[in-house]
């Protein structure tokens, strides 16, 4: 147990170090920086979605809607001269507020009903953005500029990395807390959750808000990184992909969401030149991984955990015999 903890810490430190020196490793290539940044942005999004879907059991297939809201918030506020930190935070807050509005009716729905309601949200947001010309400049999209002190890509790269680490840490804390347990409790049994004093409707809403908040931040980072945002940036496909990331990685698992996201963000790098094969490769990857690892990629670590499990089982059995012999 203790050793396990230690290994984990070293691993984490290594990962953070790797993120820090990454630009050096790729020779400051802007392409590889972008690949990494976009991956980070999707990691934040998929971790947020995981709160809702993996831990809370509330299926959302419209999560990209929050990315749109976050990214347009910084674009619109930025254009009106609102300072960076404020607009960035507002990306989360506005998205969180919309999450609240969506969450309020959504708490009554379950399973596929919720899925289709959120699908509607994901489809509608880009349409609204497209048609609300006066605010969003419609089809033309909006330019987004970074503050002067973060204007170089390498600087902003580190902002994204820092945000990713920070948000991952927040989310880890949340899911490991009473809040996270309440989410899982709602997923596993609403009745029992109520009996434990968990206000199901409230917590479902909280889930939506937290999830939307962080996704909104991710949307903000996205807009800043690319410097331009249009209504076609996030479609339902994005929402589907986010869902696939967390499921293929392994639901209700932080490493799972991260692994799944990296897989689907980096895979295209190897398939983009295969004309017309892109969706075949992505789709087959989804199907095959689930076929081979129905519980997602993190379940691979079960292979290493074998020993541990066995000891628990043996413990129990020896305890039973003791009881049998002793009394």
């Amino acid at each position: 147990m203790l050793r396990n903890h230690w290994v984990k810490k070293v691993l984490l430190a290594l990962v953070v170090l790797l993120m820090a020196v990454y630009p050096l490793l790729v020779g400051y290539s802007n392409y590889f920086l972008t690949l990494f940044s976009i991956t980070c942005i999707y990691i934040i999004s998929s971790l947020s979605l995981n709160i809702l879907v993996g831990y809370g059991g509330q299926v959302s297939v419209g999560h990209a809607g929050f990315l749109v809201i976050g990214s347009y918030t910084v674009a619109i506020l930025g254009e009106r001269g609102v300072p960076f930190f404020v607009s960035f935070l507002m990306a989360g807050i506005v998205s969180g507020v919309i999450g609240l509005l969506i969450g309020l009716p959504a708490v009554r729905l379950r399973g596929h009903f919720l899925a289709v309601a959120t699908l509607g949200f994901g489809l509608s947001v880009p349409l609204l953005v497209l048609n609300w010309d006066s605010l969003t400049k419609g089809y033309q999209g909006m330019a987004v500029s970074r503050p002067v002190f973060l204007s170089s890509d390498i600087e902003f790269f580190y902002v994204i990395v820092a945000m990713t680490v920070l948000v991952t840490w927040f989310i880890r804390n949340i899911v490991a807390s009473s809040l996270g347990r309440a989410f899982v409790a709602i997923r596993d049994s609403e009745v029992a959750a109520q009996a434990m004093g968990i206000h199901v409707a409230l917590y479902k809403t909280v889930m939506f808000v937290i999830s939307a908040f962080f996704t909104g931040l991710a949307g903000g980072l996205y807009a800043y990184w690319l410097g331009y945002i249009s209504p076609s940036d996030f479609s339902v496909t994005t929402s589907f992909l986010l869902l696939a990331m967390i499921v293929v990685g392994g639901l209700a698992s932080i490493p799972g969401a991260i692994i799944g996201t990296i897989l689907f963000s980096v895979l295209p790098h190897f398939t983009e030149h295969l004309i017309g094969m892109h969706s075949i490769v992505i789709g087959s990857a989804m199907a095959l991984i689930i076929l081979l690892r129905p519980a997602g990629l993190v379940s691979l670590k079960g292979l290493f955990k074998r020993k541990l499990n066995k000891t628990v089982a043996e413990d129990r059995n020896s305890w039973l015999s003791q009881q049998a012999g002793g009394e």
Binding site: P105, H112, L127, F240
Partner: protein, 289 residues
Amino acid sequence: MLQLIVSGLIFGCIYGLAALGIVLIFKTTDIANFAQGEMAMITTFVSFMFLTKLELPYLISFILALVFAGIFGTVVHRIFMKPIQSAPPLNQIVLTLGLFLAFNGVAGLIWGHTPAPYPPAFAGDPYDLGGVFISMNEVFVIGVTVILMLGFFLLFRFTAIGLAMRASSQDSMASELMGIKVSSVFTWTWGVGTVLGGVAGMLTAPFTFLQPSMMADVLIMGFAAAVLGGFISLPGAVIGGLIIGVFGNLISFYVSPEMKLVYTFLLIIVVLYIRPTGLFGGNQYLKKV
């Protein structure tokens, strides 16, 4: 106005047909099959091969394509779905999403992305019924939808097979203990569901033209229809489709076409707010402690 409603009804039937296949598979296997539309599309392409390459008559091609669909569905179930039958539903759904992408890509590789005209079941000019135009083909679409809906409704309600299908979705382990071969039931359902999808595809293609992405929108509307109708009710699926078709057309005309989708989902959310399990969903999440 009347014309709007009639056109809405026709597209409603198409959404309803797509929804029927989705609901059928869901009702039995508890899986929302996102690959449904693409499987229908492939079936439609296959029927088109029969029509153009082999120059078979429409009816023969139609039937042969449905035979293909039945085999296709069972094979997909055997290869992809059966091995993960006991995985959580969401994982299975994501697998169907993967199939959706892969099938779409494969169809693009084989048949290309240029839209092709697909013949309607009945050619001919529309009839003018006092200012409302309706063609023979459209009448046919409505007829097929209603017949299929009724047929499957009766199957589920009154036959032992139907009962076994319902039981399998609720508790597959207990169903096994009743002597039901759950995975065979599931395989059959996938076969039949794919046949239903194929019918939807072949009736949709004259409107959307034949191309790999022909079912994208129809599938989304099919899901919307299924949910509106309660997701487990076959008549609900068709009625949901009709409501969406007509409502969408009215919004399109009186408000604006680009807001059709937004309003349609708004309608669904309002309905679900009042009835969280759709119009004919019944008590799906019933649990007594």
